[in-house]
């Protein structure tokens, strides 16, 4: 089955198939709404997520739609700040993993032979290491180092972002393994097809073959997997923040908000709003991303349809 060199990156009708998938469209709508709220939150609602008040543990009301927490902070604005940070870490972490994984996979698959064997053995060894455990150690170690480094720029205004930066980098650095494997498998399948041989016999350089012929054909698979990496990174980040090793107070992410909520559960009073709203928003986001990933796979790769 050979394709002409100018095969479009996506199979024809992919967009139409995606639009017809009601679950995927609903997921996109939910994600769009959450992203909009997160991005426009500070401009729309003038409540400071870090502003404390004497109003402790107030249940949801018109002034505080999601109630207030232990320090009298408005939970609604904190959940929106959490959305900003969680989504930022999720998206950029997935992007880092995409860059590393795609490069690694393309190089390994394209060169082939012994280099491929060595690179894939390395991936297997890395798979065997409990990665999240190393991340916990690494983010703990590198955060103070980066903080001292960042303190030298712009009067230390960047210091607050050190933890986020470390989280993005380290989560991206562990999530690329599966991406590398998938991309390598695709490259192996593609590189001996006739349109690649034709390009090579025309004397095109390796770089040009990779960028013009291989990468466009890889994008479908990569986009699907990228959509599924984002929820994984968001989940990992919230895992770290829940343990108190991720985002540090007063900044909030969904994970740290849930940790705050879980801490004040007691038999006498349940401050359910502290747990319910971050959980609802986070679960909705992850569910929508997973549904969208499934929908994209069906749309972009008709052969895999079940």
């Amino acid at each position: 089955m050979s394709k002409p060199a100018n095969t479009p990156a996506t199979p024809p009708g992919a967009w139409r198939r995606l639009i017809r998938n009601r679950t995927a469209v609903a997921s996109m709508a939910v994600l769009g709404l959450i992203a909009l709220l997160a991005a426009a939150g500070p401009a729309l609602f003038h409540t400071d997520p870090h502003g404390t008040s004497s109003l402790q543990f107030a249940p949801p009301s018109s002034a505080h739609p999601f109630g207030t927490d232990l320090n009298g902070r408005d939970v609604f604005s904190r959940v929106l700040e959490g959305a900003r940070i969680s989504l930022l870490v999720g998206l950029s972490g997935a992007l880092v993993s995409f860059l590393i994984g795609t490069t690694y996979g393309v190089v390994s698959g394209y060169i082939g032979g012994r280099v491929d064997g060595f690179m894939m053995r390395t991936v297997e060894v890395l798979y065997a290491i409990p990665r999240l455990i190393l991340i916990l150690i690494a983010s703990f170690v590198f955060d103070p180092l980066l903080k001292t480094y960042l303190a030298g720029f712009w009067d230390g205004q960047l210091v607050g972002y050190s933890k986020i930066l470390i989280l993005i980098l380290s989560l991206g650095l562990i999530e690329w393994l599966t991406m590398a494997r998938i991309v390598r498998g695709q490259v192996l399948a593609l590189k001996n097809q006739q349109f690649v041989l034709a390009a090579r016999s025309l004397g095109q350089s390796h770089l040009r073959i990779i960028t013009r012929h291989l990468l466009p054909n890889l994008m479908g698979v990569v986009v699907v997997y990228l959509t599924l990496t984002i929820p994984a990174v968001v989940l990992d980040e919230s895992f770290l923040s829940f343990l108190g090793l991720g985002i540090q107070a007063p900044q909030a992410s969904w994970g740290s908000l849930l940790a705050d909520g879980a801490q004040v559960i007691n038999p006498v009073r349940s401050y359910w709003w502290l747990l319910a709203f971050p959980a609802l928003l986070m679960s909705a986001t992850l569910l929508a991303l997973n549904f969208l990933g499934d929908g994209l796979r069906d749309a972009l790769d008709p052969r895999q349809r079940k």
Binding site: I129, I137, F140, G244, L245, L258
Partner: protein, 306 residues
Amino acid sequence: MLAFLVRRLTGLLVVLWCVITLTFFLVRLAPGGPFSRERKIPPAIEKQLLARYKLDGTLWQQYTDYLGDLLKGDLRLSTKYRDRSVNELIADGLPVSGLLGFTAFLIATGSGIALGCAAAWRQHSFLDRASMLGALTLISVPSFVIGPLLVLVFALRLPWLPVGGWNSPASVILPALTLAGPYTAYIARLTRSSMLEVLSQDFIRTARAKGLTETAVATRHALKIALLPVVSFLGPLAANLLTGSIVVESIFNIPGMGGYFVNSILNRDVFLLSGVVIVYCTLLVGLNLLVDLSYTLLDRRIQVYE
């Protein structure tokens, strides 16, 4: 077979050595040591402390000494839990985490496979749709949301089970359910799709043509083959149960390995940390080896140890 085992065990040692080295140097890289406090300790006492915990001398010397001690099976003293050796601490914590993980493992595989089979059995039925939607929801809702919710319902509103701790046999139920949740869902999805694929194959038609009952076809012919992808997920499952148990132990206040891990990072307890990481790694790689060996039991055509 023997050559395969030797090769895999060598691989285990290499992974262990990498992780030990990485952990050892990473933790020492971070500013501050296990004895740095707000108030400065007199230099003479600090020197004594460092000597007692074998933290004096050059970093390289400490590292080689530590490797030597490890070969003798000595995991050294914990710097936080004074006068207790890491060996003792792990001997206390490992059975607790082991029981929790094993219970969760039984729940996840047992109910996951049963649900997946049921869904595949009546594809497109209400049962199928409901269980798959439930599965995706369970995957998207993180364990630190499910855990507090279970506590709220089954320990606080309905006083059936203990809130946390590790005092009675009943205290394992809620944590194990929390830990097993997402993996039950994942295994159910995996079993369903693999069962559907197997049921459409020729040898199943042959079995039906022989006049076997549907139950016999499903249990004796299809299930064994359909379980292969599930078995290959058991390795990652073990890893996920290990890291997942860190969060679950912190939610339910369980005295296991997870608590040691988080506290050893926060306290710079070098030897406890690397002791825990060594145990995690050994478990992980050992379980993966078992999984690979069990392939051959399910399908004689597969020879992993070539």
